[in-house]
């Protein structure tokens, strides 16, 4: 078979896979729409009401903690294996367009790590399925009735994901150059589409439990599966998880690069892993920067769906958790910035920007301190008496939303500034309008920051309900600064004179910043999962099916923190094992010399 015929056959296969994938994506509508229960006809049974006897306890183990651990571990792994192919495809595309083989090699190395994690994802997923069906049979029975044919679609998608993933990985070297590269990237596109759909389907179940739709107030199924899927919180959750996955996946592979950087012996490999670590950090930041805004949207939709649920999160028992969240996000931003500042040492021109680092550090640390300042303080009665209340007169105002909105937006803006400084540190603009461009960038930062602060001050002067509204212009401002400065720099430094970047010229200490990111991200994801689940309070399905198990309470922050730490430690151990596995795959034993050769020697 000549190359053209082979190519045609391959294209046909890709088309066939695409058609099957398309059918799978259309299937939900076909199955779900046809499955609508006709109102008024038939007997609509309400949701079951499980009694204490309906919950099985195995060997005195806490059922909830077991399911919590398995679900969180599955989510960690799934987030990683879904995110990696996404940015791998972007890197592969960059490599194909720029014809720089380094990108391709790095993308392949990222995939290798992801492949090792995939089997564990399926394994833990299987364990989770067994645990929930065994320990919460009434709830799972009800969810199965609500989502009917979707369960089958989920299974088909999972199979599709596995097939696409293996084809994508194992065809990498066979489809590396020319037109074949584009065919390979098409497989990557299908893989990502299937993976995202898989995540959206899983999200439908989780969000349905928070904001049920397609059922009446008694839980009787009155709508289609599509109506249950498209519940009020589904899309905000989809977006939030999609962005978080990218940031998380970037942070994990960044840790891998840092670990390799610290382990390898040659300068060449150190340079490779330094570059890999830098790219991972950029991916993590790109995923992370819009994440708080996706969080705002999710929270706004929660408030719109149920004001009670929103208040439970932000002003009720869970309010303190957002202080821990601030600590975690503060750690992530400090770690990411510190790494970028260290990166200025990679080029000789980087020293030009070094004097500005201290100002950025002041803003980031200042913002961090504002963010962790609580509104109400934990005080003894004597302290309350001495202070004249639970709110400190000067620091108290820093505990409410307007101050925190200013802080988080400025932290994001200045994190982008750190990235922009590193980008510029190896380039000299040659366009005639470079001075004007720089002036415009400075103006954007200045006006933007003033607007963020101004909108925050306005937030103090309005009733609580409008405070959240005041955050919208702040968000828009932050995004505008990032987008416009990015566009200006792109055009200003097109064709710029590039100065040498000394990859590998990084301190050992800087690499530890890349370990801070995944540790904080993992803990943060588990914390957010705990908050999201707790919003349902004592309901399996909010307002529809009560949780009557012995563990229908929201645990204390301390108890939750302990469980989260144990899950994170287990995940870290697993990830280290995965790193070791992918390293093992690249290790070759040197062929022992035969006796004859030994004699020759």
């Amino acid at each position: 078979m000549d190359l053209d015929a082979e190519m045609m056959a391959f294209k046909f296969k890709v088309l066939l896979v695409g058609l099957i994938a398309g059918l799978i994506f259309l299937l939900p509508d076909l199955v779900m729409a046809a499955d609508a229960v006709q109102a008024g006809g038939g007997d609509l049974l309400p949701a079951p009401k499980p009694t204490r006897a309906d919950y099985l306890t195995v060997g005195g183990i806490s059922s909830r903690t077991l399911v919590w651990g398995l679900a969180q571990m599955h989510l960690f792994l799934a987030a990683f294996v879904l995110a990696v192919p996404f940015f791998v495809l972007c890197i592969e595309f960059t490599g194909a367009v720029s014809k720089d083989q380094r990108y391709d090699a790095m993308a392949y190395e990222f995939m290798k790590i992801s492949m090792a994690a995939y089997s564990f994802t399926a394994l833990v997923g299987g364990g989770l399925a067994i645990a929930v069906f065994l320990l919460y049979p009434t709830l799972m029975g009800y969810l199965l009735k609500v989502f009917r044919g979707q369960t089958l679609i989920y299974a088909i998608l999972f199979l599709g994901e596995s097939v696409c993933l293996y084809i994508y990985f194992y065809s990498w070297q066979a489809l590396r150059y020319g037109n074949r590269k584009w065919a390979h990237m098409s497989i990557g596109l299908i893989l990502n589409t299937v993976g995202l759909t898989l995540m959206f389907v899983a999200n439908a179940w989780a969000s349905f439990m928070m904001s049920p739709a397609g059922v009446d107030p008694t839980g009787a199924i009155t709508g289609t599966v599509w109506e249950a899927t498209r519940n009020p919180l589904w899309n905000p959750l989809n977006l939030h998880r999609f962005l978080a996955n990218i940031a998380y996946g970037g942070a994990i592979v960044g840790a891998y690069a840092a670990y390799r950087f610290l382990s390898v012996k040659t300068d060449e490999l150190r340079a490779h892993y330094d570059w890999m670590g830098y790219t991972s950090n950029v991916i993590a930041i790109i995923g992370f920067l819009p994440l708080p805004f996706a969080g705002y949207w999710l929270m706004a939709e929660i408030y719109a769906y149920s004001q009670q649920m929103g208040i439970t999160a932000m002003g009720g028992i869970l309010a303190w958790l957002f202080i821990i969240q601030a600590v975690l996000i503060g750690t992530i931003l400090l770690g990411a910035n510190y790494y970028l500042w260290c990166g200025l040492g990679r080029s000789d021109r980087g020293q030009l920007y070094a004097p500005y680092v201290k100002y950025i550090a002041i803003v980031i640390i200042g913002g961090f301190l504002v963010w962790v300042t609580p509104h109400s303080l934990i005080l003894t009665p004597q302290e309350i008496q001495a202070l004249g209340g639970t709110h400190h007169k000067i620091l108290g105002p820093l505990g409410i939303m307007p101050a925190k909105n200013i802080a988080v937006n400025l932290m994001l803006v200045f994190t982008f500034m750190s990235f922009q400084m590193f980008f510029r540190s190896s380039r000299v603009a040659t366009v005639a309008w470079a001075d004007k461009g720089n002036a415009l960038v400075i103006a954007l930062y200045t006006v933007g920051c003033l607007n963020i602060i101004g909108a925050g001050i306005y937030g103090y002067l309005t009733p609580t309900v409008y405070k959240v509204g005041a955050s919208v212009p702040q968000v828009v401002t932050t995004l505008s600064i990032i987008i416009f400065c990015g566009v200006i720099d792109y055009f200003m430094f097109r064709g710029a004179t590039k100065t040498k970047i000394f990859w590998g010229r990084m301190s050992t200490r800087s690499q530890y910043a890349l370990f801070v990111l995944p540790v904080a991200f993992t803990w943060l994801m588990a914390l957010m999962g705990y908050i999201r689940s707790s919003l349902r309070t004592h309901w399996h399905v909010y307002t529809i099916m009560k949780d009557n198990s012995p563990e229908a309470f929201i645990p204390t922050i301390g108890q939750a923190g302990n469980v989260i730490t144990v899950i994170t430690l287990a995940f870290m151990a697993l990830i280290l094992f995965i790193f070791w596995l992918s390293q093992l795959g690249a290790t070759k034993q040197i062929e022992p010399l035969s006796d004859a050769k030994l004699e020759d020697a």
């Binding site: 609509l44 670990y259 004001q307 301390g558």
Partner: protein
């Protein structure tokens, strides 16, 4: 050695987070305890008011929004005597209390705002984008709050008393409050398959003039589909006191149909009622 350093470093960070989580205030949130309602006859009006306050601040979760943060009117800090009277005078108000006077009007207004919060939304407190036509407040008789009729009455009593009005809600009389109980329908009866069977099964015909029964305890329902929307008919069945027809007393219709009716039966009745023809006018 590198692996060990990385492990120690990462674990140290984790321990800092764990420590921080453990030094914050530790509160466990338990599901609301199922409290037994006061025994009928044990409660005087003062007791009912105190019970209402307890519900307002506890099971009813009213203070979650009705506080000084501006999400809902801060009822505990307001002069309810003036506020409620002003609300009833509002030109936008067209609810159940219209046409009633004195404390009875206040009772109807408070009750309606709990059962049907969107019937009248105080300016500035509506859902975003609804121009104050949709309230963010949940229906307190439905989940997750699920106050019973007696509990709702107790909250009304507390607010009436707080505003300096005469308390007009009846004391709980055990079982079905002051309203009649719905007929005892058991699961063994099976679901009604036609609207006529459903109307017979739930004894609607005893009070309303339906299927030629001639009942006159409840309002005439012929032509109801032109006067009320499907949703309003449904609400009137499930929450009879949400809107009382002119000339009829509240607490007459059984309040527990929402527990007795199956969804399919409710649908049959609502469909039937919404298509009932107008009464023939005598020549």
């Amino acid at each position: 050695m590198t692996l060990l350093r990385v492990l120690v470093f990462s674990t140290s960070i984790l321990l800092v987070y764990t420590l921080f989580a453990n030094i914050l205030p530790q509160v466990q949130s338990n599901p609301p305890a199922e409290e037994e309602p006061p025994v009928a006859g044990d409660l005087d009006q003062a007791g009912q008011i105190a019970w209402g306050e307890k519900l307002f601040k506890g099971k009813g979760t009213c203070t979650l929004c009705h506080n000084d943060l501006g999400r809902a009117p801060n009822l505990l800090a307001m002069d309810l005597n003036t506020v409620f009277a002003d609300r009833l005078k509002d030109s936008r108000y067209d609810g159940a209390a219209k046409g009633l006077d004195g404390a009875k009007a206040i009772e109807a207004y408070i009750h309606e705002s709990m059962i049907s919060p969107s019937a009248y939304v105080v300016a500035g407190f509506g859902k975003k984008g609804s121009s104050d036509t949709v309230s963010p407040m949940p229906v307190i008789s439905g989940p997750p709050i699920s106050l019973s009729e007696a509990e709702s009455n107790a909250v009304v009593a507390f607010l009436q008393d707080k505003g300096g009005f005469e308390v007009t809600v009846p004391l709980p009389s055990g079982g079905g409050d002051s309203a009649a109980s719905s007929p005892d329908v058991t699961e063994e009866d099976g679901p009604a398959e036609t609207a006529e069977a459903a109307l017979e099964k739930f004894n609607c015909v005893a009070c309303h003039d339906l299927l030629g029964s001639g009942g006159d305890v409840g309002p005439q329902l012929a032509g109801i589909g032109k006067r009320m929307s499907v949703a309003e008919i449904q609400t009137s069945i499930l929450t009879p006191n949400a809107k009382i027809a002119e000339g009829f007393e509240p607490d007459t219709m059984p309040p527990d149909y929402k527990e007795q009716l199956r969804v399919s039966e409710l649908q049959l009745i609502v469909d039937y009622l919404s298509t009932l023809a107008e009464p023939e006018v005598a020549q």
